[in-house]
Subunit: 396 residues, 2 copies
């Protein structure tokens, strides 16, 4: 059983803030500043170039990858860090399409995060081989897994609604139809129990700065099922080479997941991630899930009771949701600004979604109660209806 009072004490949370946006950017683990400073001063500063060996930088992508692997049911040696999630989607997709040369359809859904769709669109245009990105409604995915599908590419938890796909069932169905699967775990890793092995996922990708709390722009990760360890890496960078420091003119892929490495990894970001994973190492994902459901159910009940004009956009059944809850309102943007100005930080997703993330490591039932009270007050008194809350910044 995870002690949530203890884990909360391991995070820095600003005074007066209730943070319901850990699904977008997790807060600072208290150990992170010192760990990053160590990387900057003791490692980079004192060891200089020799730190790639002496401080173990070169092995960090694999070492930290294994620690993330534990959270998603991946065996050792099947997860590696690097790049951004967009790049990792591209990398998985380019490899997967090659494994199904006779098929031309990438099946996804409208609940996928746009960058996944964009990267697929870009790859399709580059390949010029007549591939098609077929994007259906989330509820229609199962019915569209046809024999022409090369790859089923989905984000397990919808970034807007929190709707949770059944990874095992859809993967089984994809395999039965001869297709491969790529699962984006951006809103799953550290949010809900994931078992890529049991689900028989072929590829999985994810990011570390949301529920895993690695900090802004932390590296992404990629999982490749052991069965596909001999996949050809489309992004064949030198650190995925069998012998990077032999400087051979010809690329020869490294063994297993090592071949999914590309370029020089971001050491300072990895140092912050390392501090974050020190917290995760002691955490039981089943306990996280139970607490997340407790928090989000309480939130829904209170909001629905007090704010009748807010419409639940997430599945009502907690087992069909990830670790976030969304409500719709035509003035969602202004309402979120009013919340943020009162210290309740969630986020807004166009056109009308108010999104709230539930992160048991540092969020308490008292936080949830207080957040709903502030939201109720805003809604009851139309406190969102002020010009300064309606003016949209370029980036939201």
């Amino acid at each position: 059983m995870t002690d949530f009072a203890a884990t909360r004490a391991l995070f820095h949370l600003p005074e007066g803030v209730i943070y319901l946006d850990g699904n977008s950017l997790g807060p600072v683990p208290k150990a992170a500043p010192a760990r990053v400073t160590q990387a900057v001063q003791a490692e980079w500063g004192e060891m200089l170039i020799t730190a790639w060996n002496k401080a173990g930088w070169m092995e960090m992508p694999a070492r930290l990858g294994d620690r993330i692997g534990r959270l998603i049911g991946a065996p050792e040696g099947t997860v590696v860090l690097g790049d951004t999630l967009s790049i990792k989607v591209y990398q998985a997709l380019a490899s997967a399409l090659e494994m199904r040369p006779g098929r031309k359809v990438i099946l996804s859904d409208s609940g996928n995060f746009p960058t996944d769709l964009y990267m697929a669109q870009g790859l399709i245009a580059s390949l010029g081989q007549g591939h098609e990105l077929r994007t259906v409604a989330p509820e229609d995915v199962a019915a569209n897994i046809t024999e022409d599908v090369a790859v089923l590419m989905l984000t397990e938890v919808d970034y807007r609604t929190g709707r949770l796909h059944d990874m095992a069932a859809l993967t089984a169905q994809a395999h039965a139809a001869g297709a491969l699967t790529i699962w984006d775990l951006a809103h799953s890793a550290g949010a809900i129990p994931v078992d890529v092995t049991a689900a028989r996922a072929d590829f999985a990708v994810g990011c570390t700065y949301k529920y895993l709390n690695s900090g802004p722009g932390g590296p992404a990760f990629i999982y490749v099922a052991p069965d596909h360890a001999d996949v050809r890496p489309a992004l064949s960078g030198w650190l995925g080479h069998e012998a990077p420091f032999a400087f051979d003119p010809a690329y020869r892929p490294g063994t297993g997941i090592a071949r999914m490495r590309v370029g020089t990894p971001p050491v300072l970001q990895m140092a912050a991630l390392e501090a974050a994973l020190d917290i995760w190492d002691g955490v039981d994902m089943a306990a996280i899930r139970a607490r997340s459901i407790e928090l989000s159910e309480a939130f829904i009940a209170r909001v629905e009771a007090a704010c009748p004009t807010l419409t639940l956009a997430s599945p009502r059944d907690a087992t069909r949701r990830g670790s976030q809850v969304s409500f719709r309102h035509p003035h969602g943007y202004a309402i979120m600004q009013a919340l943020i100005s009162r210290g309740v930080i969630g986020d807004f997703r166009a056109p009308d979604i108010l999104r709230f993330g539930f992160t048991p490591l540092y969020l308490t039932p008292e936080d949830v109660t207080q957040a709903t009270e502030i939201l109720s007050e805003i809604m009851e008194n139309d406190l969102w209806d002020r010009p300064e809350y309606k003016h949209r910044a370029a980036v939201t």
Copy 2:
């Protein structure tokens, strides 16, 4: 005129170290630890998700890109940060090949850094369109710019020998033959004067952790000539979208260089880079070049006088070199280990290259004299001939 005593005082250099490997990983700018801590604590810690706007994180790739642009002769709005150099090579190459659909040859040379060649090999295999990577000796490049070349892809300064290509002449020749150019500035940016505009380079890419001193795994940069601002981005990630936060299902490229952004940028690494660029902003590249030649000429003269068994691997003509000097020796690895154990840090490149970088911002003539004295002592007394210097670590 740049005051090198003043710039040296802006770097932390470990006690007892003469650092001749700033061409691999630059040292810590003294302002970097505080700037990174600010990003971690004051920005990430206190502003949380709102820092993307409030702390200006979202605009950092373009803002810092412009500051690098000044060092390479690129106009504002033509350079952007992100990803690794390997990814940026791939991005430039995928776009460039599309701009020359009738041609199938990528011309490069054996002095190119292997990852550039590897990324090209991976792209060619993915495309399956019969492209060919033609790799010739550096001195044979000009003679091989034939009418079937789609893209001339070169690293301006050879990572092993320091040999410098004539960017303007080769680009002009490539253009006359109807080819595009991609210049890798990994060993050029911050090392020598570069003018991508005058040279009429089509694409340029580079890294920031060598001469620019951004720290381990700092982000890469990409330049696209204004004439090609409408290039189709092959890596079409959400932050290159015209309106990333509209979450449209279809990719529409942003204006100009913005479209070369892909995923969420590494904020902590960019913070370190920002501190490094504060130093570069005041620097005159002509003064850097003059000082670099002074230092490297002195080094060559002293080494050749004192160490007859070391053979110069770099061009003797300083105007044909970048900012590094390499010597060959059959026991190069052991010699470099002996040097490092005595505080002189250079690096070894297989099979027999001892490589020394000259970085005027923090390297003095006295450092050079002292380094050559230590090297002479090692060579005169065969001090490298010890078992502990011959045992190669997995990573060197």
